[in-house]
């Protein structure tokens, strides 16, 4: 397609003629679903089923999937920010070390500084530590972003420096000590048997999410109708709606079948004054707090990247920096904002991590930057810039974590695990490259 002004345009059909060709591909096209996302879901399904069979039926248990969801959260949270960094033709190698600095700062705040000021286990401790931690992360990110944007040092170099500097700072902050324990409320951010919202609230979340999804679909139709644009066929929207709601309700329903172990269940029952029946009581843990945090972060980041001008500018800069500048975009400020946002997300992830460990050590988050970048890239983010999605990155994080937990579950040696993850990373990007070449 180089010069076809007089010929009928090959892509003209994708916009207005939505009937498309027949079969599954045609159906998918009518639904305007991202085929790459479908491919990733397929890959995830294959990984899950393979490990389930290989592990003799333990992978797809509610308990394992619940753990998987918790383990994925921190990387998923950071991967959503990494998408915007990579989309704008930058990279951030410092997130793992920054995680350590911010984690250490939040730990020191709640374990050593705040108790002297407002008292031990004060109800405000957790929120003060969290807010200051996120602010610190944003500040560190903005600082690196400013060097990249205004001095013009490549982001690879700045954040490579950051990787070394922040790691050293994290050690120096507490002379290498382990800081523990965390504030009792703060610990809830990390999940664990108390850090969940329980079965009932999980259902509430599922229902709210389903309703929200359907409302979005209907709204989309209304808007297109109002402007007289072509709409997806009603059956396509209905199918999307049914599948979406089904997935949400099914996932929550399945996870809700992970119950507190009998001992903890008994304690919980006594606390809440329930009668302890003969056969025991099934108390579902429900969604873990870090998972909820990751979901909320993913929603906010999706909103930022697709619904407001900042997100559009990030993509435009990644597509053509010169055009973005000539279009009147403040490209440098946008870069600083992108890195600040990444830093803030590192702050959120650090909170989840130290809450889950109930401690902070200076080695926190070592090699995490590579997992975060890998998650974004497996999720379809192009290192050439301009292309990437938030849901893709979250799925990428889930794929990575599934591989790792699966291999632990079936007892693969640690060196082999690294080899497998490395191979999957390269293969995933290779497939994606082929796919892209085929589509344009």
């Amino acid at each position: 397609m180089t010069d076809v002004s007089t010929q009928p345009d090959p892509v003209a059909t994708s916009d207005d003629d939505v009937a498309g060709s027949g079969g599954l591909v045609g159906a998918l096209r009518s639904m305007e679903v991202d085929t790459r996302l479908i491919g990733m879901l397929g890959a995830l399904a294959i990984i899950w089923i393979s490990f389930h069979i290989w592990s003799g039926g333990t992978f797809l248990t509610p308990r394992n999937l619940w753990n998987l969801s918790v383990q994925t959260s921190a990387v998923a949270i950071m991967a959503t920010g990494m998408v915007l960094i990579i989309v704008s033709r930058n990279i951030d190698l410092s997130v793992g070390s920054m995680l350590a600095v911010v984690g250490m700062a939040m730990a020191l705040l709640q374990a050593e500084i705040l108790p002297d000021i407002i008292g031990f286990d004060h109800p405000m401790t957790w929120i003060i530590a969290l807010v200051l931690g996120i602010a610190l992360g944003a500040a560190l990110g903005a600082f690196q972003g400013a060097i990249i944007a205004y001095i013009g040092v490549p982001s690879f170099i700045v954040t490579l420096g950051g990787l070394l500097v922040w790691r050293g700072v994290a050690w120096w902050m507490a002379s290498g000590r382990t800081i523990a324990p965390m504030d009792s409320s703060f610990q809830l951010l990390g999940g664990g048997s108390r850090g969940t919202i329980g079965g009932f609230l999980s259902w509430v979340v599922a229902v709210v999410a389903s309703v929200g999804f359907v409302v979005l679909l209907i709204n989309g139709r209304r808007t297109r109708q109002r402007y007289g644009f072509a709409m997806r066929p009603l059956w396509a929207d209905a199918t999307i709606g049914v599948i979406g709601v089904g997935v949400v309700l099914g996932a929550v329903g399945y996870l809700n079948r992970y119950f507190l172990p009998p001992l903890l269940a008994r304690q919980r029952a006594e606390q809440e004054g329930l009668v302890w029946p003969e056969g025991g009581l099934d108390i579902p843990l429900g969604l873990a707090n870090p998972v909820l945090i990751a979901i909320v972060v993913a929603l906010i980041m999706t909103f930022i990247s697709t619904r407001i001008s900042f997100g559009r500018y990030v993509f435009a800069i990644g597509g053509n920096p010169e055009a973005a500048e000539l279009g009147g975009i403040k490209t440098r400020l946008t870069t600083v904002k992108t890195f600040a946002l990444m830093g803030a997300l590192v702050g959120v992830a650090a909170a989840v991590q130290i809450a889950r460990l109930n401690a902070a050590v200076s080695g926190l988050g070592q090699l995490t930057e590579l997992y975060v970048i890998a998650a974004a890239v497996i999720g379809g983010t192009s290192l050439a810039g301009g292309i990437g999605t938030i849901p893709g990155a979250v799925l990428g994080a889930l794929v990575m974590q599934s591989l790792q937990s699966g291999m632990v579950l079936v007892g693969i040696d640690a060196p082999l695990q690294d080899i497998a993850v490395g191979v999957v990373l390269v293969v995933a990007v290779a497939i994606d490259t082929f796919y892209r070449r085929g589509s344009t």
């Binding site: 345009d9 916009d15 644009f229 697709t306 407001i308 500018y313 435009a316 000539l326 279009g327 009147g328």
Partner: protein, 263 residues
């Protein structure tokens, strides 16, 4: 259709200088433009046309010289400044972000927002369809990334972007370089239409036929300097070619030089 040049010019670039290192890319050039007028800027490669015009579109700062809009001295240092004065530019490179769609490109940096400060994509698409309906009714690909469009379609997007925001001063850098005959005719038609609406147009072109077809006056540059500005009706194509190559005004060219030109 004569252009009224009795009032203040819409734009005046006075004694503009831009240097890259030791090289004077633009060396003391003065040109002006009146409402409803097309001034063609011609010259060989490296004559400094694009650099000169970039000082007006805010893509380059000039080292010295002054820009006047409607007689008022103004300072244009960023593309945002230029847009504030209703100066729109269609770059030779088109300056489109390849990965985002036509609508988003048209509104890049000037997005329409809903009352919640979010992007109003539907309103933008609607406006884009309206403008494009005027410029290129066959264009329907508003929602696919620009990199899957043909050269002519991309050009349409770049032009639609400039036209939509009610430009008073339009800069077109080689607007037809990437186009086939049918689209070139379309652009020609558009330029005439915009001219009739009272918009001032700076047209940079290699094509001397285009220039004679569209321009009211022709400014010729050579090696960063202005050779001169002539009224189209007073000169022949040979005269202008002489200015471009030899760097002398029609009356100053000797017969031997003119013969050399035709060898």
């Amino acid at each position: 259709m004569a252009v009224d040049r009795t009032g203040t010019p819409l734009v005046e670039l006075r004694d503009i200088r831009v240097a890259f290192g030791g090289v004077h890319a633009v060396d003391g050039v003065t040109i002006d433009l009146y409402p409803g007028e097309v001034v063609a800027l011609v010259g060989g490669n490296g004559a400094g046309k694009t650099t000169l015009i970039k000082t007006l579109s805010g893509a380059h700062k000039c080292d010295s010289g002054q820009i006047y809009i409607n007689g008022e001295p103004v300072s244009i240092t960023t593309p945002r400044d230029a847009k504030q004065y209703a100066i729109e530019t269609i770059y030779q490179t088109l300056a489109l972000a390849e990965n985002i769609d036509a609508t988003a490109n048209m509104f890049l940096g000037r997005e329409l927002k809903t009352s919640f400060r979010t992007l109003d994509d539907s309103a933008m698409e609607s406006a884009a369809r309206e403008v494009m309906g005027r410029l290129n009714p066959k264009f329907l690909n508003f929602k696919v990334p620009v990199n899957s469009l043909s050269g002519g379609q991309r050009q349409s997007v770049a032009i639609a972007r400039a036209v939509h925001f009610n430009a008073r001063i339009l800069i077109m850098d080689e607007p037809t370089a990437a186009l086939g005959p049918a689209e070139t005719a379309q652009v020609t038609e558009l330029i005439k239409q915009l001219k009739a609406e009272g918009i001032g147009i700076f047209l940079i072109s290699h094509d001397i036929h285009d220039v004679f077809d569209l321009a009211d006056r022709i400014s010729v540059m050579l090696q960063g300097k202005l050779v001169g500005t002539v009224n189209k009706n007073d000169v022949t194509k040979d005269d202008v070619l002489g200015m471009i190559i030899i760097g002398k005004l029609p009356g100053e060219v000797s017969s031997t030089e003119l013969e050399a030109l035709h060898e």
